[in-house]
Structure formats: structure tokens, C-alpha cells
């Protein structure tokens, strides 16, 4: 059973078990899909995250207790729903050197060689638990424990767009250049956020992604692409 909490006068937080786990996120994913398809005319938008969904509504349009009742009814029925199609994406990454200035640090910290870090990082499936921090920034779950590395103490360096980083037991990709404290081990030539595109965000909550190590040549070729919507579909696998 989910917990229902009010977030001010325009939000309801639907909260599942408080942990970062696949099975909890699967509940989030189902409920979020159900709210956005069956209550689309009653809610404004939702923010799904690790273990909860923040549902925004317009109190001038709907009575909050009615919405609450509808959400609870939906929660009961949505566990039996088959989850919406989950996308699998392959993200090319050039690891190390100037694109991954912290690769050596992550290796040293975990008593691994840089090659082992790359192998471990690129042989996992990661789940996009949520997007936040900056537009299009994916919080990825599934980092091997052996790669966990604390953040930088001084998070002022400029991190370039496409940087793949590690912070604690999380890994993520910077969609736009911004300051940040994550340990940067590589860079993807893909654009995670294309403001002019019809669908400007590469990732959706719930996507499964895998990293694929590429070389400098391949990086060069891929970074010259425009990555419009059709080309982005190429990275879908499975």
C-alpha cells in the first residue's frame, strides 16, 4: 500500500516503500503510467522518482478528495497491469584521458586498473530511476559496488556536456555543461537534451541503458551527427 501525502495545495505525493530497489521502482513505473493514461484529464503532470510519484493537480478544476480516491482506486488496479514498453538504449562512451579525467582516481580508489573500471562500468544494465538536477540528467541505478567512489569535496569544476560520472553508488550523465562534483570517467557524443527537438529529452524515467566503450575515431564520427529523433532510435537495442 502506498502512502499519500499532501505537497502544498497543488500536489499529492504517492509514496511506496522507502528504498532504492527495482521492485519498488517497478511499482512507481506502473502507477505513473496508469495516472498519466487514466487520470490524464484530472492531473497536470507527474514527477516519478525512486520510490514515489509527485502528482500535480489544479484545485480549481478538481476536488482534492475525489482525486485522492481515484488515485487509491488506480493503485489497487495498476499492480495487475502489464508495464508499458520499456526502452533499452545503448550509450556509446569514450572513457579516460581528457574525456574522463577522474578515471584513474576511480580506479585507484577501488584498487582496480582503469581497464577494469571501464569493463565493469560498461558490462551492466542501468535503470533510469528519475531525471532531475538539470534538464535531462538521468539518475542511474545499478552501478557495481566495486566502482562506488565519493564525490569531489569541491564541486566547482566545469563539467562538459555528455560527461559520464560516478557519485557514491550512483552513475549519471551530464546533459548540459554545468558545475558538478561527480567523478568523471568518460564522455558520450550523444545529446541528452536537444531544446529544438520535438522530443528534446533522450531519456525517459524507467529506461534501461547500457554503456558501450568506443574509441576516439568512433567518438569523432558520432559527435558529428545531429542526433535528430530518427537517429536517436538507432541506439535502441533489444
Amino acid at each position: 500500500m502506498a502512502n499519500y501525502k499532501f505537497v502544498g495545495d497543488k500536489g499529492i505525493l504517492v509514496e511506496f516503500e522507502k528504498k532504492i530497489a527495482l521492485e519498488v521502482h517497478e511499482q512507481v513505473r506502473k502507477m505513473d503510467a496508469a495516472v498519466n493514461s487514466f487520470l490524464a484529464d484530472k492531473v497536470l503532470e507527474t514527477i516519478p522518482s525512486y520510490h514515489s510519484i509527485l502528482v500535480f493537480y489544479d484545485p480549481l478544476e478538481i476536488e482534492v478528495n475525489n482525486l485522492l480516491a481515484e488515485l487509491k482506486r488506480l493503485e489497487k488496479s495498476c499492480s495487475e497491469m502489464s508495464p508499458e514498453n520499456q526502452r533499452h538504449l545503448e550509450i556509446p562512451v569514450l572513457y579516460g584521458d581528457e574525456f574522463g579525467p577522474d578515471l584513474d582516481y576511480v580506479a585507484e580508489y577501488n584498487a582496480l586498473t582503469p581497464e577494469e573500471v571501464i569493463d565493469l562500468h560498461s558490462s551492466q544494465k542501468y535503470r533510469v530511476y528519475m531525471l532531475g538536477f538539470t534538464p535531462g540528467f538521468p539518475y542511474l541505478g545499478g552501478l557495481p559496488e566495486r566502482l562506488a567512489t565519493p564525490r569531489r569535496k569541491n564541486p566547482t569544476q566545469k563539467v562538459i556536456a555528455g560527461s559520464v560520472g560516478i557519485a557514491g553508488d550512483q552513475t549519471g550523465i551530464y546533459p548540459i555543461s554545468s558545475p558538478g562534483g561527480w567523478r568523471i570517467i568518460g564522455n558520450t557524443p550523444l545529446s541528452l537534451f536537444v531544446p529544438e527537438a520535438q522530443d528534446p529529452f533522450l531519456f525517459k524515467p524507467g529506461d534501461i541503458i547500457e554503456f558501450k566503450a568506443i574509441d576516439r575515431n568512433c567518438y569523432q564520427v558520432l559527435s558529428e551527427k545531429t542526433w535528430d529523433e530518427d537517429e536517436r532510435k538507432e541506439i535502441e537495442i533489444g
Binding site: 502544498g8 497543488k10 522507502k18 514527477i47 520510490h51 480549481l60 531525471l131 538539470t134 529529452f201
Partner: protein, 341 residues
């Protein structure tokens, strides 16, 4: 299409509308006008539909040269408004002939004002909104604050004959005191705080620090202790949410706030009070009072009724009268207009 040029920009003048909704799940902040009451009123006064893009300025207004005639209204923080050097009323629409210069004195009360143009500002829509999200350098006019010599356009080209005066009756014009009460709904993570911490929060007076911008205000006051650490599993946040990081001082999240956060949120400011919080300056004081959710919704409905009333009301000025006054040996002619509903 009418055009104007920025002669002086002021410290933070941006294009804003009601905000960018529908993309928070992708990490895109809502942005939009900080003080939604003044924003909506400014649009209503010039006859715009809700949602038109306006200018928002902070502390010091811009100086604007109009190349074409415009119908505009200025609302929000109180500052003297000048047209070609002559004082103009705020919270009222007026016609500005092409060639005029609109300028402002420094804000005396409040922090943010709005300049609405009949027809609305014409900048490219990005993700269904014209709002500027400054940190993301996204939307609005080139994703940034306005600078000297920027030229902007507004839809339509109104003539003086199109002009119907609309004003907000004095009793509805908000005051912007430097001490305010923010009404709140407790939660969603009030249980993360010690009893004493929660009590301090509800009884304390908090000062707005220098770190106060469109993303949020850091406050300073009685400590709000956590029960057991200041980290939660990140979840969605809303404008008005009051998060408390490890330093035990609250931060009110505002229009440009991130969409998710990892600090517990003790309470959320109700929607109608965000407008007065948007008008606070560093050094101002805020205290909090818990209210029922139903009360918050009633207040929102009440405010909506006022918007409806202004939307449907057209107020014309009656014939002008002139008075000749002599003050300190100088002669003045004062124009008086009778206001009729």
C-alpha cells in the same frame, strides 16, 4: 507587431509567462513569473489572455524606448513609473505612443515588478512556454537576462483608439511589507524532524539571506533539527516547498527550483502566499503558520474570483478636469479624471 528597445536593462529583467509545465518529469524546472498574482493582473489589465509573456524585473526596472504604440500595465513591487519623465500610475493600463521612453525609479517596496504589453511579448516558445529558465540558459529572450540594446517585439500594434482603461481598485493592490507570514501545509517529510525542530520552525522568525534568487531563498533563524540525518531518497519537489539540509536552516524553493531533491521538506507554502514571498528582499523576515488544506483551496478560489471580476470589468475614465495650482510661486496644472465603472 510592435517593437521596443532596452536602453537600460536593470540587474535582472527577464521574459516570463505562467511557467513551463509538463516537463518536470524530465528534470525541466517550471520557471515563470515569481509573483503570479501581479503577473496575472498585469495581463488582465491590458486585456491579455492568461499566459501571455511579460517582463519581470527585480529591484530596478529597465528603461525602454518604444518604436510603436503600445498598451501596457505595470504591477508588482512599488516603484515610480515614468513615461518621458512624467509620473504614471501603476496597476492600471495606459497607452504609450511610439517614440516614448518608459523608465522606473528604484523599487521602494517589494522586489519584483511586471510589465505587460497588450498582445503579449513575442519570443519563440520553447517547450510550450516563453519563460526564461536562467540556469539552463533556456527559453525567454535568448535564454538570458535582458541587456542594453536588446530589441523585443509584442503581438499586435494597438492604436490609442483601442485603449480602454482598466485598473485594479486600490483595496486589492497588495502591500509588500518586510515582515510577512507564509501560510503552509505541513509535509511531505515533517516526520523527519525532531519535535523541537518542528516547533522552532512554526514559532521562529526567519531572515531572508543574501542567497535569494529565482531558484529559492535561503533563510536564517532557529535551528530545525532532523531526527536522523538530513538525507532522504530524492523525490519530486514543488515551488513553495521548504527543504532543510544538514545545516538545519530552511530553504524555500521558488519558480526556478530543481524538480527533484534529496533533502527532507518540512512544509510547503500555499499557492496564494507565494506571491508575497516573491516580493521579499534579503533582510526581510518571514514566519510560518500551518493551515488546513481546505482553507488553502478556498483562498485560491477567492483569488480566482477576483481575477474573473477584473477580466469582465471595463472601466472608462470620465471627462477630464484641470486644476491650476500655485506651489512655492510655481504654477502647476493638474489633470483630474473621474473614474467610473
Amino acid at each position: 507587431m510592435g517593437e521596443f528597445k532596452i536602453i537600460e536593462a536593470g540587474p535582472c529583467t527577464t521574459v516570463q509567462d505562467r511557467g513551463r509545465y509538463g516537463y518536470q518529469r524530465y528534470g525541466m524546472p517550471v520557471a515563470g513569473a515569481m509573483d503570479d498574482f501581479s503577473y496575472k493582473m498585469a495581463n488582465l489589465l491590458v486585456g491579455n489572455e492568461a499566459g501571455a509573456a511579460v517582463l519581470e524585473y527585480t529591484f530596478q526596472g529597465p528603461a525602454i524606448k518604444f518604436f510603436d504604440g503600445a498598451i501596457i500595465a505595470v504591477t508588482g513591487a512599488r516603484a515610480a513609473v515614468y513615461l518621458n519623465g512624467c509620473l504614471l500610475p501603476d496597476w492600471q493600463s495606459f497607452f504609450v505612443p511610439g517614440g516614448s521612453v518608459l523608465s522606473f525609479a528604484r523599487v521602494e517596496q517589494g522586489a519584483r515588478s511586471y510589465i505587460a504589453f497588450q498582445g503579449g511579448l513575442q519570443v519563440e516558445e520553447k517547450l510550450k512556454s516563453r519563460s526564461t529558465y536562467l540556469r539552463g540558459e533556456f527559453g525567454g529572450y535568448q535564454g538570458r537576462k535582458l541587456k542594453k540594446d536588446d530589441c523585443l517585439e509584442f503581438y499586435g500594434q494597438p492604436q490609442k483608439t483601442d485603449y480602454t482603461c482598466r485598473y485594479l481598485p486600490e483595496k486589492f493592490i497588495p502591500d509588500y511589507p518586510s515582515k510577512v507570514e507564509g501560510r503552509i501545509i505541513l509535509g511531505p517529510q515533517v516526520e523527519c524532524f525532531s519535535e523541537e525542530g518542528a516547533k522552532n520552525f512554526l514559532k521562529g522568525r526567519y531572515k531572508v539571506t543574501e542567497q535569494a534568487d529565482r531558484m529559492g531563498y535561503r533563510l536564517e533563524g532557529p535551528e530545525i533539527k532532523h531526527k536522523d540525518g538530513a538525507d532522504i531518497i530524492s523525490d519530486g519537489v514543488a515551488a513553495g516547498s521548504i527543504q532543510v539540509p544538514g545545516h538545519q536552516q530552511p530553504i524555500i524553493l521558488l519558480a526556478d527550483c530543481q524538480t527533484t531533491g534529496g533533502y527532507p521538506k518540512i512544509a510547503t507554502v500555499i499557492s496564494v502566499d507565494l506571491a508575497k514571498i516573491a516580493q521579499l528582499k534579503p533582510g526581510d523576515i518571514i514566519s510560518f503558520r500551518e493551515i488546513e488544506l481546505a482553507e488553502a483551496h478556498r483562498l485560491l478560489e477567492e483569488r480566482e474570483k477576483l481575477f474573473q471580476q477584473i477580466r469582465t470589468r471595463k472601466m472608462k475614465f470620465g471627462p477630464s478636469k484641470f486644476l491650476n495650482l500655485k506651489i512655492n510661486e510655481d504654477n502647476y496644472r493638474v489633470m483630474i479624471e473621474e473614474i467610473r465603472d
